[in-house]
Structures are given as structure tokens and as C-alpha cells.
Point group: C2
Chain length 311, copies 2
């Protein structure tokens, strides 16, 4: 140990890039690296090298947190724990990401979806510090939702996969959608790749009068409404590449109210909802900081399981 300070490793495994970091338990970063999400062998080799070399330079790791694109196997009792499931990302199906990255380290490991990790990060250090029931939505390469209930990530049978809910089709939208499983689910209609496939350009390059802005707000407003009705979060935090376009937020809040149809009479939602549907305070780092939180919690859980006799 380096004095009182403990260090934790974080790996946010996203659809476009892997964001890796070493931080202390307050979430202060001491090293950071990014790797494009390529084939599993080369991507994981780069990440593994970063973890090993940084921990040599900075100090031994007290825990590692991995937040990974879904679907993933989270049941610790199952043989497939730590393994990536039936993903549309080529080559990544059935990859044991926890074993690949953590076997050189004797420390406890926290493993969850990238979006559950981001929800945890926003809960600990960002836009969800004051609520226990939180939804984090990312809109980027894909669409995903992480859910905290009473401060803890929601798993259940697997974990939420909100990006694959079907919205009602906007009457002006004839685009078939890009999801290889579902075609025109939310991810198929409103993810970054869907926008580019439909409009030939990213949202940020489309003029304010372009119909995609309304489509985008409508579909994401439906996602928020479906989430309110199913999960009843106390706040919805939205991040990811597409959500850096801040003018989406008021448009989404309007469509959320439209789709709820006056049924949910909670002031948090009705009062324009500026605090209810809100940008990620940690921005791009929500995921990787959430992985630090996963690592800290895993280390805490492990030390509670095996108490030492020391102070």
C-alpha cells in the first residue's frame, strides 16, 4: 500500500471505445487511457497492459470495476459469470471479459453493465446524489439504460435492456431501423448509427429545422415515458454522444409529458421536468467513474466478508 491511499482500476467497455482508469476511492483519476473497441484479442490486450503497467507505476489495486456493454452474465453463481452474451458486436459474443482482464490481479472485482456502472457513478459523484432510484440512459453507438433501485444496480433475471424496447413509430418516419435483432426498436431508430443511416449525417451536423430533431425527441421521450411507467425512477440522467446536443433535453421533456398523457401527476415531472430529465453531470466520465464505484464497492463487500483483525 502507498500510505493510506488505495487505488482502484476501472474499465468501461463501450461499443465504440474502452475507457480505462486508475483512481482513488474519492474518484480522483491518477491515470486514464482509451482504446477503440476493435476485435476482442487486441482490445483486451491493450486494456490488460494498461492495468498491469499503471498498477506497477501507481500502486497495487484494491479492486477492479468493469462496466460492459450488454447483454452480459451477472449471476455470480453461474458458470457464465463475467461473460458477454448475445451481442450484435462482432466477435464479442461469449468473451469472458472478467477473466481476461482480472486474472493477473488478486483483488475483488465488480462487474456490471456499462450503464448500471454509469448510473452508479452519477449517483455517487454526479447528477443523482440525492436520489436512490435512478435511471441512466446513454444514447450513442447504442441505446442503453442503467437502473438503480434504493441505490443498488438492478439485475433480476439478467439486467435491463431498455434500448431494445419498441417505441410507437412516428407517423413521418419510414426508416426501417438498424437493430440486427429488432429492426425498429429504440436503438434501431434513435441510436447514433440509426441517425447517420437515416439522415446521412450525425445529429450535430443537422440544421435545427431538420425533421430528425423531432423524431429523435419523440423516440427518446417515449423511452422516458416507458421508463416512468415501468421503473418509476426519481430521476432520469441522460448521457452518451448524441445527448451532448443539449437542445434535445427540452424537446424530450415535452414528448415525455405528451406520452404520459396527464396520468402521472408528480410535480417532479410536471414542473417542466428540468431536474427530472437531466444531462449526465460527469459527462463522458460517468461510465468510467461508475466503474471506480463498482471497484470500491466490491472491495468493501470483500472486506466485510473477510474482516481483518486490524483497525
Amino acid at each position: 500500500m502507498n500510505g493510506d491511499r488505495r487505488y482502484f482500476g476501472a474499465v468501461e467497455a463501450g461499443g465504440t471505445k474502452f475507457v480505462c482508469a486508475i483512481a482513488d476511492e474519492r474518484g480522483v483519476l491518477h491515470a486514464e487511457a482509451r482504446f477503440p473497441t476493435a476485435d476482442p484479442a487486441s482490445t483486451l490486450a491493450g486494456v490488460s497492459r494498461f492495468l498491469i503497467e499503471s498498477s506497477r507505476a501507481i500502486g497495487p489495486l484494491s479492486g477492479i470495476g468493469i462496466g460492459c456493454f450488454g447483454p452480459i452474465h451477472l449471476d455470480k453463481q453461474a458458470a457464465k459469470y463475467g461473460v458477454i452474451g448475445n451481442t450484435p458486436k462482432k466477435g464479442w459474443n461469449n468473451i469472458d471479459i472478467v477473466r481476461a482482464l482480472c486474472s493477473p490481479f488478486p483483488c475483488p472485482v465488480g462487474f456490471d453493465t456499462d450503464v448500471n456502472a454509469a448510473a452508479l457513478g452519477e449517483h455517487r459523484w454526479g447528477a443523482g446524489k440525492d436520489v436512490g432510484s435512478l435511471l441512466y440512459v446513454t444514447v450513442g453507438t447504442g441505446i442503453g439504460g442503467g437502473v438503480l433501485v434504493e441505490g443498488l444496480p438492478l439485475h433480476g433475471l439478467m439486467h435491463p435492456e431498455l434500448g431494445h424496447l419498441y417505441p410507437r413509430r412516428h407517423p413521418a418516419d419510414t426508416f426501417p431501423g438498424v437493430c440486427p435483432f429488432h429492426g425498429d426498436c429504440l436503438e434501431g431508430l434513435a441510436s447514433g448509427p440509426a441517425i447517420v443511416a437515416r439522415c446521412g449525417n450525425e445529429l450535430k451536423h443537422l440544421e435545427p429545422g431538420h425533421p430528425q430533431w423531432d423524431l429523435q425527441a419523440d423516440y427518446l421521450g417515449q423511452l422516458c415515458a416507458q421508463s416512468v411507467l415501468a421503473l418509476s425512477p426519481q430521476r432520469i440522467v441522460m448521457g452518451g454522444g448524441v445527448m451532448t446536443e443539449r437542445r434535445l433535453f427540452p424537446l424530450i421533456r415535452q414528448r415525455l409529458l405528451h406520452w404520459l398523457g396527464g396520468y402521472v401527476e408528480r410535480n417532479e415531472i410536471l414542473d417542466a421536468g428540468e431536474d427530472y430529465v437531466t444531462p449526465a453531470a460527469l459527462g463522458e466520465r460517468a461510465g468510467v467513474l461508475g466503474c471506480i464505484a463498482l471497484a470500491v464497492d466490491a472491495a468493501g463487500a470483500a472486506s466485510r466478508r473477510y474482516p481483518t483483525s486490524g483497525p
Copy 2:
């Protein structure tokens, strides 16, 4: 107290009827009564009389559990705790049901949605004993969903209102729907009143080849799929008047698989799903027994808060 035995009161406030009972903590009923859901004053007077007279005859109540149709105010810190919200049921908006029924009794009160109570009942004594993460869906006068996460009812901002999710419209269905808030949400398209309004008859009187069977299975299959993607329950238990038609179950399981599109590769769902989407084991009594569980838990919580010096 009558020896060691403790008695609990239960009120399941449903859209069609109020089911009331006195039971012990094992869920054995000692008295039961039903009252049609009419105007609040006369309905609540009947229920109140039952509780007072039964407890005089059987023994003092150690707790009361109320499971009520939504939306309701569940936040114990809020002024509106115990009050019914913006319901489509005439006259019931803003009724303080907890105060109306419980003020004569000094015992602790558990208050939740009728469907969260039913989920709790099935978890304690029915089809969900072996899972902590459970969805209970009722399809009757309305459509509602109760959710347990790690064995505890999900609240968050309010509580789930799954019946008001919008399904994709079945291409053969031109019925506008009966929900006063949303028209063609799930409750508007597939509740008991929606079936009667569309077909002129209840589902049980429609011949097996009637197109409503396929519509009904498709909409409820969508509800199950949306729930899997949002809530990831370990089991879906279905009850309510419409679900007494057992031939719906295999049809719903087929449509669930269709709507998931091969994305959720969990054997629990893929292996025909007979255990995954399953009838309420407590049948019509899921709700009222769940209210007994709410009452028992409220009494337990109260005695943990104010421990006695006795054994």
C-alpha cells in the same frame, strides 16, 4: 391478544370489488368479505364496518395492510401519503383511503398498490416463493403490474403503472381503445372492458377461433417483453379475471419470444417459458393475501423500530 396468535386486517381495493379479510401471519383466513367498488363513501363504510366488527369478534389487529388501485401516494414523508391520485375511477380521486379505514385502529399500517401487494402475496405463499425479483400482472377491469426487487415492492418516484405502456398496434386491430388518459395503451386495448367494448362479449364467451384471442395474446406478450427489457424479472405471474382463461398462457409465451427477437438468451425464457410466465398460484386471493403480508411486514417493521423488552 388471543394466546400467541396475532391477527391482521387486509383490504384489497380493486377496480371492481374490495376484498377484505382477517388472517393470521401464516395467511390463514379467519374472516372474509367482498364489497363492490361503488362510490367511496358507501364502499369505505362497508369495509370499515367489516374491519371493526371482525376484530371485535376475532381479536385485536396487530397490523392492517391496504393494497389499492393506482395511482396512489406512497411516500410516507409526503402530506398526501395514503391518498388516491389521478384515477379514472369516478369519485375516488383524492380520497384518503388509509385514514378512512385505519383511524379507528392503533396498529401499524402497510400501504401499497393492489398489484405490489399481490406480488408480495405470490412471493410469500404462491408462485414466486423461490425468486426475489418478481412481476405480478393483473388483467381485469384494468391492467396493472406489481414489481418486487430483491423481495421488496418497487416504488421510486411513485410506483410502476405498467398497464399504461403503449404496445405496438396489431395490424388487424382498428379499435380506438378505452383508456380515458391514453386511448390505446395496454389497458385501453386489452383490459376486460376493452375486450367487451371491442367484441361485445367477455373473452371467455368468444369461440377459440375469434381474432380477439390472438390480439389479446399479442398485447400481453408485448407487456411481458417490455417488462423483461425494463425490469428483468425472474418470473412473471399473471392473474385477474381475464387470465383465468388458461389457454392464453401458451399464446402469450409465444408472443413474448416473438417480441424479444432472440435478444434475451436466458433459458428461463427460451425453454418454452412455462415457469417464466405463469398463473397466479393464489388465484383470486393473491391480492388480499398480499395485503396480509403487507400488514405482517408493517407490524414487524414497527416492532423493530420500537423494540419491547419482552422475549
